[in-house]
């Protein structure tokens, strides 16, 4: 039986979401140690598929960037609705990162 599974929320120092202009949303997953960063990158857990599943977005539209020099994984995709449109629930897209926290890292 495998040990307790770790989550992205436990390994990352900070996970945040923000607008990148009114048409895109961007997420930064920040790690304090090299080990944590490498563990998550090598696990492949933060993938277009796992992001698409949580955000109901077409995986082909997701852009993922690994930034080892600052231990950050960034990903971005087109906003489901334009910032400030009346369907929008979060003008700055600052509270959309929570579904990532429970992402299991094996």
């Amino acid at each position: 039986m495998s040990g307790p599974s770790l989550t992205l929320g436990a390994l990352a120092h900070e996970v945040r979401s923000k607008n990148a202009g009114p048409f895109w949303i961007t997420f930064d997953v920040v790690f304090t140690t090299e080990d944590d960063y490498v563990k998550v990158v090598e696990s492949g857990a933060l993938s277009a598929a796992s992001i698409a599943q949580r955000y109901a977005v077409d995986p082909a539209l997701i852009r993922i960037f690994e930034m080892p020099s600052i231990r950050v994984i960034k990903f971005s995709f087109p906003r489901p609705c334009v910032a400030g449109s009346f369907e929008d629930r979060d003008l700055h897209a600052g509270q959309q990162h929570v579904p990532l926290l429970s992402l299991p890292i094996q």
């Binding site: 990148a20 009114p22 048409f23 960034k74 910032a83 400030g84």
Partner: protein, 454 residues
């Protein structure tokens, strides 16, 4: 050659900075700039012609910036005036500048750069196939362009440079690339574009590139031929290679490629190393000039008028069945709106937000259970006219307030309204309607530049 010192007074005009910090920053500086606009707070400001920061806050920052620029005999450069960067926004900021200059008895050459573009100009470009959509762009049509409330073209460095070459000392621009505010002077002085644009990108947020920004404040950059140094003028603030590199990716979909009107900056190969205790040296990336000059267009269209209702629900029985309660009352409300007001459901937008359940994330909320004792309701109604939105809201709150709960008898008041009136008329609602670039043959083509001696 001595490094060229560029100063950002703060990240957004009106958010403030310490007077002492600007004093330190301005010593030996070649320019002081500040970004005054953003799309961050949404389309309202562009669409309605309003400004986000209060005039007094903008005035306080402007007075200190211009005072320091005049003292040091260097340019003061403001971009994206008045949040939206359209003509009305620019004029409001320029009025503040004029009144300060009059009160302080200052004399200087002022240049204004108007970035607003007539819908017909954009429509003509559309017909000539000179518009290119950016990723995630809305569907455009000639009608949609002509129906926009306001359109602006994000200016690059050239209008700033032209204004300075004509003798202006204070330059107030409408919508412009925040990087170009800072890159304009260095480029004129022979600093390579990969340095000028990268430094500008970090400068434009003011003190945000430091490790822990306790309050908005100034930032400086020293630009040379092959590197630049970020140096926070506030002695209590510190840049680290991580804080500077991380800042470059903040609010950007792509952390490596950054498109400016004149070309693309690729910072994949940039290197960040400490320079002393609090500063960071940056070895630059690569700048590729564009084959075709393009300017990014921003625009807002009127989407309707909003009336909102805010209410708390605390009764545990109603909280427990909040979804059913709202579905049931909504059905009755829409029926009454059709009967009494003559509006069909398709003619207005009607949305409940349930805070304490999934208010911030809607359908993406991974755990939409109500775990607390209370929910906060926001009812958002948008209709083609304010009177219609208000009328629908009146029917809605009154109906929901007394909507029968199966387990209760008699007349209960289900909602706790904090306000009288319970509904708040919020005015016009706008939508960003364009995310395209326009091809131009001349970098000054869509800038209206005027000069004035104050």
């Amino acid at each position: 050659m001595e490094p060229l010192k560029a100063v950002a007074a703060t990240g957004q005009l009106g958010t403030g900075f310490k007077r002492e910090t600007l004093e330190t920053a301005a010593a030996g500086a070649r320019m002081i700039g500040c970004d005054a606009g953003s799309t961050d707070p949404g389309p309202y400001y562009l669409g309605a012609g309003k400004t986000q920061a209060a005039d007094a806050a903008v005035g306080r920052d402007l007075e200190l910036i211009i005072e320091k620029a005049l003292e040091k005999n260097i340019p003061a450069m403001i971009g994206s005036a008045g949040t939206g960067g359209g003509t009305v926004h620019l004029n409001r900021t320029v009025d503040i500048v004029r009144s300060i200059a009059a009160r302080r008895n200052w004399k200087f050459e002022l240049a204004t750069i108007d970035s607003e573009v007539a819908p017909e100009t954009v429509a003509a470009a559309y017909r000539a196939q000179r518009l290119r959509p950016l990723a995630g762009a809305p569907e455009l049509s000639e009608d949609r362009i002509l129906g926009a409330s306001r359109l602006v073209a994000m200016q690059g460095v050239e209008p700033f440079q032209h204004a300075l070459k004509q003798g202006a000392q204070v330059v107030i621009a409408g919508r412009s690339s925040d990087v170009s505010i800072y890159a304009a002077v260095p480029l004129m002085e022979g600093i390579p574009p990969e340095i000028a644009y990268h430094a500008g990108k970090i400068l434009e947020c003011g003190a945000a590139a430091v490790e822990e920004r306790s309050h908005p404040d100034c930032m400086t950059a020293y630009l040379s031929a092959n590197e630049f140094v970020m140096d926070p003028p506030n002695p209590n603030m510190r840049c680290t290679p991580q804080s500077v590199a991380a800042h470059g990716m903040y609010e950007n979909a792509d952390p490596f490629y950054h498109v400016e009107p004149g070309g693309t900056l690729d910072i994949t190969s940039a290197e960040y190393t400490p320079a002393g205790d609090r500063s960071v040296r940056v070895r630059p990336g690569v700048f590729t000039p564009a084959d075709q000059l393009t300017l990014r267009l921003e625009g807002a269209e009127l989407a309707g008028y909003r009336t909102a209702v805010v209410a708390g629900v605390r009764d545990p029985l109603v909280v427990r069945q909040i979804d059913d309660f709202l579905a049931s009352t909504t059905k009755v409300i829409k029926g009454k709106v059709r009967e009494s007001l003559g509006f069909e459901a398709e003619q207005y937008s009607f949305n409940w937000r349930v805070y304490g359940q999934n208010g911030s994330m809607g359908g993406l909320e991974p755990d939409p259970r109500v775990l607390g004792q209370e929910v906060g309701l926001v009812l958002d109604i948008v209709a083609p006219e304010q009177a219609a939105a208000a009328a629908i809201a009146s029917v809605a709150w009154h109906t929901a307030l007394h909507h029968p709960v199966p387990q209760y008898s008699g007349l209960v008041s289900n909602l706790a309204f904090p306000f009288s009136p319970p509904s708040l008329d919020a005015g016009p609602v706008y939508r960003f309607c364009i995310n395209h670039v326009i091809e131009v043959d001349d970098a000054l083509e869509l800038a209206k530049i005027e000069f004035e001696t104050l």
